[in-house]
Structures are given as C-alpha cells and as structure tokens.
C-alpha cells in the first residue's frame, strides 16, 4: 500500500479523471474515429456494393424506388462500406452516433 501513497495523495488534490458526460462535453474523439455514417445522394449510383459487403446488413439499396435505407442501430461502424464505395458517396465523421428514443432507419433518396 505504501507504494501507492504518492499516487493516492496526488489524486486527493487533483481533478476527477472521469467526465460528467451529459452535463459537460466529453473530449473530442481522435481524428480517425469511426463514427456517424452519412450518404451523399448526389454521388451515389445505386450500384449496391455497400449492401453486399455490409456485415450487419444495415444498408438496403432499393434500385426501383431509387432509395437507400440505412439503419444506424444495426450498423456496427466497421467502415467497410466507406472503403468499398467506388463513388466515394459514403463518408464517416469522427463523432459518436447519438442515441435516440426510437429505432428508426434513415431513408436517402437518390435524384435521377
């Protein structure tokens, strides 16, 4: 125990290490963090590559109605779709995906 005394005394007089999350902002995530996924409907050509590679089956490409349905609650944020997309229509920003009261999937319409 005596070996830890300096650390304990230091801790006694320093700020808490933990962050009071909902009341205060958390630290900025690192630049390479795999966060929210967004689709650029101007670049997308509905090829369906993202749907095929998605391990969680969170993306559905509806070629007939020109729509993409993306379920952020199924998504595991592995960024495989971001790497696969040839048109670079899928992007990921380093912020955490926010929680929601209802599990709703997003629908992205592609203009023809």
């Amino acid at each position: 125990m005596i070996w830890m005394l300096p650390a304990i005394l230091k801790n006694l007089f320093s700020r808490p290490v933990t962050r009071r999350y909902p009341f205060k902002d958390i630290r900025e995530p690192f630049s390479g963090y795999r966060g929210k996924i967004s689709f650029d409907n101007k670049k997308c050509d509905l090829c369906g590559d993202c749907e095929r590679v998605c391990p969680a089956k969170a993306i559905e490409v509806d070629e007939k109605n020109k729509q993409i349905r993306y379920d952020p609650f199924k998504c595991i944020y592995c960024a495989t779709c971001v790497q696969t997309c040839l048109q670079r229509a899928i992007s990921q920003d380093p912020h955490y995906a926010v929680p929601a009261a209802t599990k709703q999937s997003e629908t992205i319409s592609i203009p023809s």
Binding site: M1, W3, M4, P6, A7, I8, V17, P29, F30, G32, Y33, R34, V53, C54, P55, A56, I76, Y77, C78, A79, T80, Q83
Partner: protein, 359 residues
C-alpha cells in the same frame, strides 16, 4: 457432518461473466466443485456458416470484447492459409502491435478485477486508470476503443504513420511510468496481497500438463508454452521469450501477468521501431477451399480456429476453441481444499472469459 452445496454464480459480484460453480462444502472448506457453463451461448459458430467468409472477420471480432483483434487475426490467418496468401511485412508488424496492445489492456483489466475480487478497491481503480491510456491508443490507432476492426483478410486496414507512432510511443512510456510508480510494486511486494494469493489454488506442473492448461495459467506453473514462440505474424522478427513462474499458485499467475504487461510494452516498442515501409493490404481473390487450423496466443492462452471451406462464399465449418475452455478443468484441482472465502480469488486467477468460451 453433512455436506452443504453452495451455488457460486452465475450472478456473483466478483464474476465479470456468468459461470456457475456448484461448490460442495465441508464446514468452510471446499471439497468438491462442478463448473457449469451455458449462460451466454450466442450461436456464433452457426452464424459464421451463414455469413460470407469476408463478413465473418467482424463476427469473429465480437466473440470476445477484450481480445477482439486477436480473434480477427486468427480467423484471417486461417483464411490466408486456405487461399495461399502471403501478407505484406508491414501488416505483420502492425498485427503484432495491435495484438500486444489488446494484451496490455486485457491484462490491466484483469489485474484490476483481481484486486477487486480481493477487496482492494484503490488498486482496482489505479489499474483501470492506466488501462484508459491503452484504450486511448486503441481509439487513436484503430478508430474504436474495444472493437478494433483493423484486421482484414490479406493484411490490416489501417496504417500507423510516423507522427502517430511518436504519439503512441509517448503514451506507452506514460503507461510504463504509471505502472512502475503505482500498481507494479503493490502487486509484487504488498504483504496483504501476498497473503490473499500466495499458496492459494496451487496447480503443479504435472497437473497443468495433464489438464491441458494454457496461457498464463500454465506458465504460472512452470510450463513454458506460448504460441507466440511459433513466430506467427512478426513475432519471429520481433523476438519473443515466454515468461514463466514456477510456484503455480494464484500469486505466480498474477506475477506472470504483471511481467507480461511489461513485455507487451516492450514488444510494441520493437514492432513500431522495426516496422518496414510498404503496403499494408494485398488484394485477395477467390474463395477458400480445404481445411486448416489457425493458432494464436490470446491474453488468456492458446486460441485455436478450425476452418473448412468448400470453394463458395460461405465456410462449411468454423470451430473455435478458446483458452478459458481449456483452463476451466484446472479449477477442479485448484479449488478443492481451499476456504470458501478464497474461491473468488482462485476462480479469477485463471482469468475466465465465459462469453469467449461459449461463443
């Protein structure tokens, strides 16, 4: 006197995961034990047969939250062996780096939980505080704190550039300094901690070999077995010697893990320094065919994957043997003869990872 049967778990404050031990007690002494598992079965092996073999990398990663990278690595190694792919040298060194980083954070997590099992709360907090830095490095290099998703068939998906590598080195030094100043001396010299662990749950070398113990459990009993000796990924180039203690009690297993954490930090330094320039991922075409066994060293011991492919998108069979499954039988010789109050310490000393075991 009649024997009393006391259920220990599946829900118990010291157990991070549900395992049920049916303890037969004679007064306060344990005379018999029956471990029962099956509370967190998720059917991952079956799910792996339904997914495509490329998507399975992410599924295998979710078998264990702590050593997620090593699961993905073992799976990728198996698929690469089936398809005859040689991965680039830089990717091999990066695989060593992330494996060792996972091991560091797993060992620090376990050291904290172990201190908690003994009721040493402040030590638990210190261990987890240091682990936070390891998790920050994971987030910085891989993009997520726990599920790294960096291993891929044919290499790795992320690179560590020079700037980031300098930052990582700085953080690794901080981890080492914090360990030197706080937790390591307590684990190595504290008399209270020694009294709770030394001589408790003895597993002799013969018993360890007979029961097929793996990882730090076996190495604490003097069995120098470590799959990293086979030199998979870049362990051959980095150079590796297993850490062995001979007393075979809970204390020896703790010392093995403390020393291994230091070794991990050293291996990470070496991997970053020796990393050659070049590609990190090769393109892999075709489908896996044939069968193979892929092995690697998890923080808890040897991990075995058996893969059988039939030349289609899906694997025909994926069988996973995790280290805790091999270590649970050792409880049958460690626990009888001990006091009921020592059961949490001895059970935790094998570092049980139950959701790994049941997949």
């Amino acid at each position: 006197m009649a024997r009393t049967v006391v259920p220990f778990g599946p829900q118990h404050p010291v157990l991070p995961e549900p395992v049920h031990l049916k303890l037969e007690l004679d007064d306060e002494k344990v005379v018999g034990v029956t471990p029962i598992i099956g509370y967190v079965h998720r059917g991952i092996e079956k799910a792996a047969e339904l997914n495509s073999f490329r998507q399975n990398v992410f599924l295998c990663e979710r078998i264990c939250g702590i050593c997620s990278f090593i699961h993905a690595l073992t799976y990728c190694q198996g698929i690469e062996a089936l398809m005859g792919v040689e991965i680039p040298p830089r990717a091999r060194f990066l695989r060593v780096f992330w494996s060792e980083l996972s091991r560091t954070h797993s060992h620090l997590l376990w050291l904290g939980l172990f201190a908690d099992a003994m009721g040493f709360e402040s030590l638990f907090m210190q261990c987890w505080r240091i682990r936070e830095i390891a998790l920050d490095i994971l987030e910085m290099t891989a993009g997520h704190r726990v599920i790294t998703s960096t291993a891929s068939i044919g290499g790795v998906r992320r690179d560590i550039d020079n700037e980031m590598s300098k930052e990582v080195e700085k953080k690794l030094l901080k981890v080492k300094e914090m360990m030197d100043n706080t937790i390591a001396p307590v684990f190595l010299h504290d008399p209270t901690l020694k009294r709770r662990t030394a001589g408790k749950g003895i597993l002799t070398k013969g018993q360890a070999e007979l029961l097929g113990a793996v990882g730090p459990t076996a190495r604490g009993s003097g069995v120098a077995i470590d799959i990293r000796q086979t030199g998979y990924a870049a362990y051959k180039e980095v150079g590796f010697e297993p850490i062995v203690e001979t007393t075979g009690d809970s204390y020896a297993r703790t010392v093995v893990r403390i020393r291994e954490t230091y070794q991990c930090l050293e291996l990470m330094h070496k991997a970053l320094a020796m990393m050659p320039e070049g590609e990190i991922l090769v393109k892999v075409d075709g489908y896996p065919e044939g069968e193979t066994v892929s092995r690697s060293e998890q923080p808890r011991g040897e991990l075995i994957y058996y893969l059988r492919g039939n030349g289609t998108w899906n694997l025909e069979r994926l069988k996973i043997r995790t280290p805790t499954f091999a270590n649970i039988p050792t409880l049958l010789v460690m626990l009888p003869g001990c006091e009921l109050a020592d059961v949490p310490v001895i059970t935790l000393s094998i570092d049980p990872c139950i959701s790994c075991t049941e997949r």
